[in-house]
């Protein structure tokens, strides 16, 4: 077993806080779980050895500053290398919203039970995060409260840092909120960041995870949602690749008539890797889920999407859709897409599709015939491919902020 892992385990053994009973469970599981390799199906495309090879430093005073999103007018919760940054975080919260640091979780009567409730145990680094995450926050939204301002959790990572964070969010019955998880860093760093969301009956969560780190980042994390009766989730994941980016998303329909939408955009260049695993668990009848995963891969990058839909026995009248579209911009770019449908109910509608396409030459000709040169047309078409999903975002400020950033990224993606 890896030396890095042994050190991490030793470190985890020394943590003795309110989460200690849960941490011990995960540690026990970890010791039985082999270090994933290329032969481990779920980690086939994730080059984990990069974690062992990377040189991490102990944390120094960081220069990394959170990126602003104009006009978002958010409640800001800022973390630098996992540490809460009081000066840049909002200090007044609206009625109905309470925020605790993860270390303060012992003060609540629900957090201990909720920890590890939504996130499955299957994930090696998820278990590591259970054992090691001492930073992060606990967000509680009261029943029937509508939090108008988006809650933005900014995690910045500085050179050589290692951090493990956990976000826990509880949306009370019939409450409404927008949560933006913004991960960002300009240098080599390693982070595991997992978030667990409990969405109570009739509640609505608008969710964004902006995983926009640099090429050097090593980032493993996930978002896990549990949906109550008639609740609604509208989740968006926007990712740039890096030398190792792995995101797992689990959406568990625990109450009937719940609806989940999950839209994903990722853009990869250079030798970046983005490995996305989603799992939609329809455990009860009458639910709907829709996933749209769109990816543009240039140069030698590798885009992985493993999309699982699991319709449990007796979970009838489910409508589940999954759509994965990929745009390849070079001969050396790779896409590995795998749908996994497990359906144990007979009265359901479940559709999936995956397409791999290069730039459509008819559209290209059309734009050129109007005077637009090939490289500008390329940017327009690639952008159009994902702009459809940006147009669907409810939060206009995020869409307006994203468009030029993504446009710029395309402009830099050369066709080879």
């Amino acid at each position: 077993m890896s030396q890095w892992l042994n050190q991490a385990l030793a470190q985890a053994n020394d943590i003795n806080d309110w989460l200690a009973p849960k941490r011990r469970q995960s540690l026990a599981l970890l010791k039985e779980t082999p270090w994933p390799s290329r032969k481990t199906e779920a980690w086939k495309y994730t080059p984990i050895n990069k974690i062992e090879r990377a040189k991490f430093a102990t944390r120094t005073a960081s220069q990394t500053k959170a990126v602003e999103i104009p006009n978002l007018a958010a409640i800001e919760l800022c973390f630098v290398d996992g540490m809460f940054d009081t000066t840049n975080s909002s200090n007044s919260l609206p009625k109905g919203l309470s925020v605790l640091q993860l270390s303060e979780g012992g003060q609540t009567n629900w957090a201990l039970d909720s920890f590890k409730q939504t996130k499955p145990d299957k994930h090696f680094f998820g278990l590591m995060n259970d054992a090691l995450a001492t930073q992060g926050c606990i967000i509680d939204i009261e029943d029937s409260s509508e939090i108008v301002e988006p809650i933005r959790i900014v995690q910045s990572f500085s050179l050589g840092s290692q951090s493990h964070t956990r976000i826990m969010v509880r949306l009370g019955e019939a409450s409404r909120a927008t949560v933006v998880e913004h991960l960002h860093g300009n240098d080599l760093s390693f982070n595991t960041s997992f978030a667990e969301y409990q969405i109570a009956d009739n509640a609505y969560l608008e969710h964004y995870r902006l995983a926009m780190q640099c090429q050097d980042a090593i980032s493993v994390g996930g978002c896990h949602f549990k949906l109550g009766h008639s609740s609604q989730l509208n989740s968006n994941l926007i990712g740039f690749g890096s030398q190792l980016s792995r995101v797992d998303v689990d959406i568990i329909h625990a109450g009937e008539h719940s609806d989940a939408k999950f839209n994903v955009i990722y853009l990869l260049d250079g030798r970046e890797i983005f490995d996305l695993h989603s799992a939609i668990e329809h455990t009860v009848p009458n639910g709907t889920s829709e996933q749209n995963v769109r990816c543009i891969v240039a140069d030698h990058a590798n885009a992985i999407f493993n999309g699982r839909i699991h319709i449990h026995r007796d979970a009838q009248k489910i409508l589940a859709e999954m759509n994965n579209r990929n745009l390849l911009m070079s001969d050396d770019a790779q896409v590995n897409t795998k749908p996994e449908l497990e359906i144990y109910a007979d009265d359901v509608r479940c559709a999936h599709g995956a397409t791999m396409a290069e730039i459509d030459e008819k559209s290209m000709y059309y734009l050129q015939s109007r005077g637009i040169n090939r490289s500008d047309a390329q940017v327009m078409l690639s952008f159009g491919f994902i702009n459809e999903l940006i147009d669907l975002m409810q939060n206009q400020a995020i869409g307006d902020w994203l468009r030029p950033i993504l446009r710029q990224r395309f402009a830099n993606m050369e066709i080879r």
Binding site: E361, Y366, S369, R370, G371, R374, M380, G384
Partner: protein
């Protein structure tokens, strides 16, 4: 303005255009008619430079400039415009963004100042109204979910904004009801200023009732077999193409 001499063009090594000659002077309207498979669309694609439409011989110049040596977008900036028979849908790219990019590209290539966004918005709104499309169409994806008639009107809107020297209208009348046909024809006629020239490709005389041509040519087997004045279109309408030696009742539809 446009001068085509002995043009020969092939698609997938099949020669479709076989020695085509045509001269269009400034301000003239020429109509090209002909049966399916005559090479009408191939002619428009070869002139605009579409990939896989190879010009194997001959010349084509626009105001003395060698069109065939130019990239697709350079031909557009030189003043050539093709109104597509089947305009392409491009979801996610808004009509407005597309129009502005096209007009900007052509103006900068011609060394003209670019319009400010607000100036251009005014122009685009005016053009949109002129072709009788709701203003919301400027925000929608390019041709996305447009009906056949709306697509054709969107083509004419682009023509109005791009101010080309020579417009090729490839069956701009196909699939239109009589009201839509009038709107399209009015849009085209509004652009006739005595300088701008038109090459109208059509199957039917109907469009020519609204856009009066100066010359009518019959294209068959890749070349012009007959030319005349507007009266030729009427003859064709009455007699069809069966007088052509090469006429084949079973000719494959030339649609791509």
């Amino acid at each position: 303005m446009l001068k085509i001499e002995n043009l020969q063009a092939s698609v997938a090594e099949n020669q479709i255009i076989k020695g085509f000659n045509l001269q269009i002077k400034a301000g003239e309207v020429h109509a090209i008619m002909g049966p399916n498979g005559a090479g009408k669309s191939t002619l428009s694609y070869a002139l605009t430079g579409r990939e896989d439409y190879d010009v194997t011989d001959g010349t084509a110049t626009l105001d003395g400039e060698d069109l065939l040596a130019m990239e697709i977008e350079e031909r557009a900036s030189a003043g050539l415009f093709l109104a597509f028979q089947y305009p392409v849908e491009i979801p996610g790219v808004s009509n407005m963004e597309f129009l502005k990019a096209a007009v900007d590209a052509q103006r900068s290539s011609r060394g003209l100042d670019l319009h400010s966004s607000s100036e251009f918005l005014k122009m685009a709104k005016a053009a949109c109204k002129q072709v009788n499309l709701p203003l919301s169409f400027l925000k929608r994806g390019v041709n996305e979910g447009f009906s056949g008639g709306e697509k054709k009107r969107n083509e004419i809107m682009q023509m109005i904004l791009l101010e080309p020297k020579l417009c090729i209208l490839d069956e701009s009348d196909s699939g239109l009801d009589i009201d839509a046909l009038k709107v399209v024809a009015q849009g085209i006629n509004s652009q006739r200023d005595g300088q701008r020239s038109f090459l109208v490709i059509t199957h039917y005389q109907r469009l020519l009732d609204y856009i009066k041509p100066d010359f009518v040519h019959v294209l068959a087997e890749g070349k012009i077999v007959k030319s005349g004045g507007p009266e030729l279109a009427l003859e064709l309408e009455a007699e069809g193409y069966s007088w052509l030696e090469s006429y084949d009742r079973n000719a494959a539809d030339e649609q791509l």
